[in-house]
Amino acid sequence: MPVRTLSHLKKGESGVIKSFSDKVMSLKLLEMGCLPGCEVRLDAVAPFGDPICINVGGCYCLSLRLNEAATIVIE
């Protein structure tokens, strides 16, 4: 089964961050508060499907591009 990432979520769907597949990106995401074990929910999708807005741990809203979201492995 292929790895499920944040970019696979549908609007309103949630997942828990498991790991990151890109080293440089993971540091940026960690500093923005996306930690392993944190629950994320896809809240909004920009026109043309990219970027997306996710709710991080019920705390705040983060927008990021699809290819960035694809580096976040969820379960």
């Binding site: 080293k23 440089v24 990106m25 993971s26 540091l27 940026k28 995401l29 960690l30 500093e31 923005m32 508060g33 930690l35 809240d43 909004a44 999708v45 920009a46 026109p47 043309f48 499907g49 990219d50 970027p51 807005c53 709710n55 741990g57 019920g58 705390c59 705040y60 809203c61 983060l62 927008s63 990021l64 591009r65 960035e68």
Partner: protein, 711 residues
């Protein structure tokens, strides 16, 4: 506390309320400048601090550092934070740091706090946004937090000013502490890299392990380290085989491990935490694939209507007031050269500046409301994918929108774009956005050729044409970015990660402050340039080479002796201007601008406005008040209407000439300050010169096409 000037720094995440607190503390006692050694805008201000004994201890300087999520910079803007904090010799090195944190997102905000703490500079934690936390059913125990973090924690509300007094007391108390309390590291880097850190500490005489680590990780960003020092650190990294990325991930995760139990003890959560209801509802519309763009378009349309329709009334008043004042001064001063210099040179120039105060005030107020409310972040999101197609980034929207105010601060805001490539492209195309200095030119030319009729009952035709010009600039910018992106190779990947603030009502005081500041800087900064150029022009237009001016004037007076005195005067004045220095200069370049439909008088204005566009209207005022009859004072617009084309006998300012001029000014890069700021931001002459060249070609070719098609 001694009488010396004490520096206090403000740090915090973006959107944590840092700038609001800064404004509350310093009020109107702030100034902007540049950090020494680096090209990042510096906001600093002063405020009074009272010691605990009750007597005033004088002024303290507060330095507002760029908002950042960690001390590891992600953009040019953020590098300044560590450049100051790692260098005790820096003139802005703070005695105390106020860390502003968002109580509704404590975990992430504390990451930065723990890093600051480990640098060993005394800190005070300002707990802000408690109202947002409450609305998310979170209660934060400040006492518990203070005990665990071992620093003073003060609950504040930066928007209302609540708790600010307590915060000041905590700062005073920290300043007055004789001995520094022993530092407890939240993360001790010597756990992993003890030898490397010991070696760095001994070479650079540092006593803090974490600062030593920053020398290793960030030395390329430190302006206070010379090249040999940087090379030495590079060698040390190699010697100890230090993997920076790995280390930083480990550090960040370790910090969160420390923060988690602290937050769970201090924050009680009751039930589900959510974004505020209105934020979710509004995002449903404003990020919608159809309504999102509709709203954005409406917002832009409102801005342009406001600039044109609402500003007309105060502008007419100022216009009439200036004309009356000039006439009055002309009357009371004795006739002569001094009178002419003051009225035709200086006062005509000033009149050309102050008339645009209402438009600039409205524009800046509206842009500031958009930023304050949180809408600007949504605009970045809906524009990101589109901007990417042109080689730009969603964040490029902010410089582009700010560009309608002034390209200089707009180019400075590009420092929040982390990719150097996207930043460069944005810098190169931002001057195409029609800045407020173009407004005077647009306003006067539109008023000449576009009737002020209503369209669809509510829209004003002149406002629509103005919007068209702005759109032309926007599309010019996007197209140029795309074209340039084909020639400039991209070296690094682009990324876009942006926190979406919840919607807030703008703080009207802050909006008013921005408005005041921008009008002030426009009048003073632009005023200086315009004024000096007005005077130079007046001299150049009043005197000529040899005695040609006098001879020609006599000849014309004799030839036209059958006319009335007024008509003779007008003819003489006109021929005098033609033979003056300025006139000869205009004549000299006339062949180059003839294909665009311009005569030598427009040529003079065109050349003068190379320094700054706003000079154009002032120059027109000077030229036409010199060449026309001086008996009655007309406003610039009326003079332009009356101006005749000597070849055709019809109006000089035909629609073809006006539209050609409008298009020329949409594209031309006529602004010394922009060239200077691009030079500074790109560290060299290469990019400003390329920019000047392509924009001049673009302006000339488009103006030529417009004139030839319309005449």
């Amino acid at each position: 506390m001694k009488q010396e000037n004490i520096k206090i720094a403000l740090v915090g995440n973006p959107n944590a309320g840092k700038s609001t607190l800064f404004n509350v503390l310093t009020g109107l006692r702030q100034k902007t400048g540049n950090f020494p050694g680096v090209t990042v805008e510096k906001k600093s201000g002063t405020f009074h601090l009272k010691s605990s004994t009750g007597k005033t201890d004088g002024e303290v300087t507060l330095v507002d550092l760029p908002g950042t999520y960690s001390i590891y910079p992600k953009s040019a803007d953020e590098t300044v934070v560590m450049d100051i904090l790692a260098n005790p010799q820096h003139p802005d090195f703070p005695k105390v740091i106020i860390v502003v944190v968002d109580a509704s997102n404590l975990q992430r905000n504390l990451l930065l706090f723990t890093e600051i703490n480990d640098l060993g500079i005394p800190a005070v934690l300002a707990l802000n946004m408690l109202d947002v936390a409450t609305s998310m059913n979170l209660t934060v125990n400040a006492v518990q937090l203070a005990m665990q973090l071992k620093v003073p924690v003060v609950r504040i509300n930066a928007r209302t000013g609540e708790g600010v007094k307590n915060l000041m007391e905590a700062v005073t108390h920290t300043l007055e502490q004789k001995e520094k309390p022993a530092l407890t590291y939240f993360y001790d880097p010597t756990e992993k890299e003890v030898q490397l850190i010991e070696e760095v500490k001994s070479i650079y005489h540092l006593d803090n392990d974490y600062v030593a680590l920053q020398y290793v990780c960030q030395h390329d960003n430190f302006s206070f380290l010379e090249q040999p020092a940087r090379t030495k650190l590079d060698r040390l990294i190699e010697k100890y085989d230090f993997d920076e990325n790995n280390f930083l991930s480990t550090e960040t995760i370790a910090r969160y491990e420390k923060i988690k139990p602290i937050v769970s003890k201090a924050v009680k959560s009751e039930g589900m935490t959510e974004q505020p209801f209105w934020t979710r509802k509004l995002d449903g519309i404003l990020l919608h694939h159809f309504w999102g763009y509709v709203t954005f378009a409406v917002v832009l349309l409102v801005i342009f209507q406001a600039i044109f329709a609402w500003a007309t009334y105060p502008m007419d008043l100022i216009d009439a007031g200036t004309a009356a004042t000039i006439e009055w001064v002309k009357g009371i001063l004795p006739q002569g050269v001094l009178n002419d210099l003051i009225t035709d040179g200086i006062m005509a120039g000033i009149g050309g500046i102050i008339i645009f105060i209402p438009q600039i005030a409205i524009l800046f107020a509206l842009v500031s409301i958009l930023e304050e409310s949180g809408y600007m972040a949504r605009v970045m999101v809906i524009m990101d994918k589109l901007m990417r197609k042109f080689g730009l980034n969603g964040r490029s929207v902010v410089p582009l929108i700010s560009g309608v105010a002034c390209a200089v601060p707009a180019i400075m805001t590009t420092r929040s774009i982390s990719s150097r490539y996207e930043r460069l492209l944005t810098i190169l195309v931002t001057p195409l956005m029609s800045c407020s200095a173009r407004l005077p030119i647009f306003a006067i030319l539109i008023a000449l050729v576009v009737p002020s009729t209503k369209v669809f009952g509510i829209l004003n035709m002149q406002g629509l044409v103005l919007m068209g010009l702005y759109l032309m600039g926007l599309f010019g910018a996007l197209f140029s970015a795309w074209l340039l992106s084909l020639f400039i190779p991209r070296k690094e990947p682009s990324y876009f990660m942006l926190e979406m603030p919840s919607y807030k009502l703008p703080r009207w005081g802050h909006v008013g402050f921005t408005m005041y500041e921008s009008v002030k800087s426009f009048v003073l900064e632009a005023g200086k340039v315009i004024m000096s150029i007005s005077i130079i022009l007046w001299v150049l237009a009043s005197y000529g080479p040899g005695d040609k001016m006098e001879k020609e004037a006599e000849r014309v007076a004799l030839e036209n002796s059958q006319l009335t005195q007024d008509q003779i005067n007008a003819a003489v004045a006109s021929v005098r201007l033609e033979n003056s220095y300025a006139g000869s200069f205009g004549r000299f370049i006339e062949p180059a601008i003839r294909p665009l439909g311009y005569d030598w008088k427009i040529g003079i204005a065109l050349l003068a406005s190379f320094a700054a566009r706003e000079v154009f209207v002032g120059t027109m005022a000077t030229i036409y008040s010199i060449s026309g009859d001086t008996e009655d004072v007309l406003t610039v617009k009326e003079r332009l209407v009356q101006e005749r084309n000597p070849d055709t006998g019809g109006a000089m300012y035909t629609p073809a000439v006006c539209y050609s001029l409008l298009v020329f000014y949409v594209f031309a890069m006529m602004c010394m300050s922009t060239i200077a700021v691009v030079y500074r931001e790109t560290h060299g002459w290469k990019w400003p010169l390329i920019q000047l060249a392509y924009l001049t070609v673009l302006a000339y070719v488009s103006a030529f096409a417009v004139y030839q098609l319309m005449s």
